[in-house]
């Protein structure tokens, strides 16, 4: 990781005005930590239309080499929009456990 972990940053480490000087630091932010439920794909029903990829508001669904889609759980907030939009009912939303 290019950035110091937030829990280790002291007030003396901050730049003037708490300016963030490294561009793109938002991709270090694990929005997946907000998730209480997750999408689970049943690719036997998938026709690779890519609607889940297009509708995902987090932009975290990626197409794999075999053409099927997979959410990146580091960023996925579990909103369920992919499951709602999927015309083939590939995606089931299941509760996170633990």
């Amino acid at each position: 990781m290019a950035f110091k972990n937030e829990s280790e940053v002291t007030w003396k480490d901050l730049e003037i005005g708490s300016i963030v000087v490294e561009p793109g630091s938002a991709d270090q932010y694990e929005t997946g930590g907000w998730r209480s439920q997750r999408p689970v794909y049943d690719n036997t029903k998938c026709n690779k239309c890519g609607l889940c990829y297009i509708y995902c508001p987090e932009g975290c669904i990626e197409q794999q080499e075999d053409g099927y889609f997979e959410p990146n759980l580091f960023y996925c907030k579990g909103c369920g929009i992919c499951a709602h939009e999927c015309p083939k009912d590939v995606i089931t939303i299941v509760e996170e456990e633990g």
Partner: protein
């Protein structure tokens, strides 16, 4: 060579901004600040000041535009008053937290309702905790001088904070006073070009005012608090240097005939000069009274205040704002808090006056002092002065 010119104080503020070579002015006219921005607009339109003048649609936009201009490294100036200052409120916090050294003259005005365009300090006190450096002035020369000092202090690399220079609406903004104007070369020497260390620049992108979750927000606020408190040293240095160049000295807390005085009056802003005349009169009559004037409001000069009042028996805090439903006016609450843990301290009473442009004359201040002494002896702590019963 400095030149003495008789000029309306509002226009002198515009001239100070011109001598400071500001790059951007974004302001919305509001009584009693209007002549300041009119004059700046004129200076820019006439080509006398090479700056961008942004005629915004509100004070919220004015401060937002100033914040943006300051963030790209422009020397930025604005002015407002009363309701205008309140409309800026949320952006005042942002400007201070992002450490952008905007300078603003505030022609202090009472807040609605009822509508009053006249002066008091209720507008200032409502923005007390926004994180700006705040300096009060008593006459035209002090306003002019402290506009120059405000740029020098705010832009110092050890500070990088916005600065408000307060002047009483009408009582000061609309006076025509003799003001010493330094040469451009003297100002240039005192005020080097502004060079913000981390400006918005496409070649070196930065994020300002980013999202801060609970794990980091407290750290940002501690850094801000330490920085604002530490600014006092730089303010003192700036005023010292100003005195050595221009011969006029400013202090965070200034005393007038307060030596060995058992009764002290504390004032803030231009009413202090009227109070001085009252003190002179009472001293000549053999009364043991003196005056303490608070110039630096933020960061609060706790040590200097303690030192200035420690030998008095009674301290009468006279101020031009109420803290509705509170224990005392905002200045008095702060003063009492600074003294509470001291072993040796005066009894503090609070008299509120001069609200919404109500004048307090020399005779008025004599009465304030007499009432203050009676209050201290009768355990009364608070009074609104001069109200018809």
């Amino acid at each position: 060579m400095a030149k003495r010119v008789g000029m309306e104080v509002s226009l002198a503020i515009g001239e100070a901004a011109k001598l400071a070579k500001v790059d951007v002015v974004a302001a919305y006219p509001i009584t009693p600040q209007t002549h300041v921005v009119e004059h700046l607009a004129e200076l820019v339109a006439d080509g006398e000041l090479d700056a961008v003048y942004i005629p915004v649609e509100s004070e919220h936009s004015a401060m937002s535009a100033c914040l943006g201009a300051s963030a790209v490294g422009a020397r930025t100036f604005t002015a407002t008053a009363g309701q205008g200052l309140e409309l800026m409120h949320e952006v005042l916090y942002v400007t201070a937290s992002m450490q952008l050294p905007v300078v603003m003259a505030v022609a202090n005005r009472a807040l609605s309702a009822p509508l009053s365009v006249w002066g008091d300090h209720s507008d200032v006190m409502a923005v007390r905790d926004t994180g700006w450096i705040q300096i009060f002035t008593e006459n035209g020369q002090e306003v002019f001088d402290n506009i120059l000092c405000a740029f020098r202090i705010g832009e110092d690399k050890r500070v990088l904070l916005p600065v408000m220079v307060h002047l009483d609406g009408f009582h000061l903004s609309h006076m025509i006073e003799p003001i010493l104007f330094p040469d451009q070369s003297e100002v240039d020497k005192f005020l080097p070009p502004y060079n913000y260390p981390l400006p918005l620049d496409p070649e070196k992108p930065v994020t300002m005012g980013a999202f801060a979750p609970p794990i980091i927000y407290s750290e940002t606020k501690k850094a801000q608090e330490v920085n604002l408190a530490a600014a006092k040293e730089v303010i003192l240095q700036c005023w010292d240097e100003f005195a050595s160049i221009f011969g006029r000295r400013y202090l965070p807390v200034e005393s007038y005939r307060s030596e060995q005085a058992k009764v002290l009056l504390l004032t803030i802003g231009s009413f202090s000069e009227t109070a001085m005349v009252a003190i002179d009169k009472m001293r000549e009559e053999g009364q043991d009274v003196g005056l303490v004037r608070l110039r630096l409001w933020r960061p609060f000069p706790t040590q200097e205040l303690r030192q200035a009042v420690k030998d008095a028996d009674i301290l009468i805090v006279f101020e031009r704002a109420l803290s509705l439903g509170g224990q005392a006016g905002p200045v008095c609450s702060e003063v009492r808090s600074a003294l509470y843990n001291e072993d040796k301290k005066p009894k503090v009473v609070n008299i509120i006056g001069g609200l919404g442009g109500r004048d307090v004359t020399v005779a008025g201040f004599e009465e304030v002092i007499k009432r203050g002494i009676r209050m201290a002896r009768s355990k009364q702590e608070f009074e609104i002065f001069g109200v018809r019963e």
